[in-house]
Symmetry: C2
Subunit: 250 residues, 2 copies
Amino acid sequence: MTGWIVIAGLGPGNDALVTPEAQDALDQATDIVGYIPYVERVQPRDGLTLHPSDNRVELDRSRHALEMASQGKRVVVVSSGDPGVFAMAAAVLEAVEHGDPKWRDLDIRILPGITAMLAASAACGAPLGHDFCTINLSDNMKPWAIIEKRLQLAAQADFAMAFYNPRSKSRPEGFEKALALLQRECNDARPIIFARNVSRPDQTIKIVPLNEATPDMADMRTVVILGSSRTRIIARAGAPLVYTPRSIPE
Amino acid sequence: MTGWIVIAGLGPGNDALVTPEAQDALDQATDIVGYIPYVERVQPRDGLTLHPSDNRVELDRSRHALEMASQGKRVVVVSSGDPGVFAMAAAVLEAVEHGDPKWRDLDIRILPGITAMLAASAACGAPLGHDFCTINLSDNMKPWAIIEKRLQLAAQADFAMAFYNPRSKSRPEGFEKALALLQRECNDARPIIFARNVSRPDQTIKIVPLNEATPDMADMRTVVILGSSRTRIIARAGAPLVYTPRSIPE
């Protein structure tokens, strides 16, 4: 048996957002590796071994997956969302670069998925319909000063912004600081969207003016989207629609 | 019959990247509206009317789709990639905001898709594995000065960058200017990726150092990804892997 390793995105939670390409890889796999709740999304079957692991062991998990592939297994590393956006693809490649040289010769494929910001954007309209940026607000792996600098420059650029990992239980003060900075820099009532458990049955979408947003509106299950200065709200009988127009007049 | 309008993303071209959710909407539709090559991706069947239209008529197309939905049709507006990223969702919502008030009461849903930058990133590794921004380089609908300002600020923020619509036949000089600006601002040999016809059988991925990139490497079928200052290349016997590490040391 020739081994391979696929890093596949399962999308934000709804199985109707798993691509046929990712499903096909799951169907061919001998081994599934990933964070516990993502591995739980894979249907068990004969001949398939599940290897769930805890959070924050991304490099160990990557090495385990690479080692199994080099032994001839067909390994799928499952990610939530898209594996290339703050997920497992970079971790596996980090392990490849610094690990056993024979891992470089493996058949390594990365399969894209629906990342949370795209599902959140679709759930409320099209707030990312014009230029935008995507920032991981966790300071686990980078200095807080870099996050602040990026927020400031993104506000100056008038990007819409999508934020991942906005607020952990252990370090809730980060999002408070980020929100205060954005309220000061943007200084207006543009819409900010808190999309929690996006695409799941318990999805909630909260849309508030930036100057009225409070830190407790986000947690680690939330993706946050901040509009640009030009983002619009369409009021109607049902949930409002939020979008950023395609054009900026001369 | 109760009408509805769905704006669905068909992904970058490979049918294995169409989500089951989008496919389900196509299966239920009475009418498909969209740019000619995207409508051509939909399988004809009895009871389904196809309404292909030319490029640059996004608002007319949107009004047509909304009007049919208000007459009770089940209308899918098809986009390439994700409908919320430089595609049809913002156009339809623009038409809703400024159009017939009764359109606001329609059942309007947006279904996310695999946008080109995610497929391009997956095809070469994980260059968008850390903070990044996404910029439409076409100046059809915004002043060139705004594009330049955003590129400068994005380089200062050390974002990886994804560029859509980099180079049209009618205005090829834009990408030449953008590339010269980025080469000046970044002033290094970080990888830049030219992903053409991504996910299609004729996909090509070209990875070059930024300081050796030339404008002719891009056209309108290309999505361009520029690494951050920290983006790495893993050399190996096959195609190299490019990724942006998850962490920035203190």
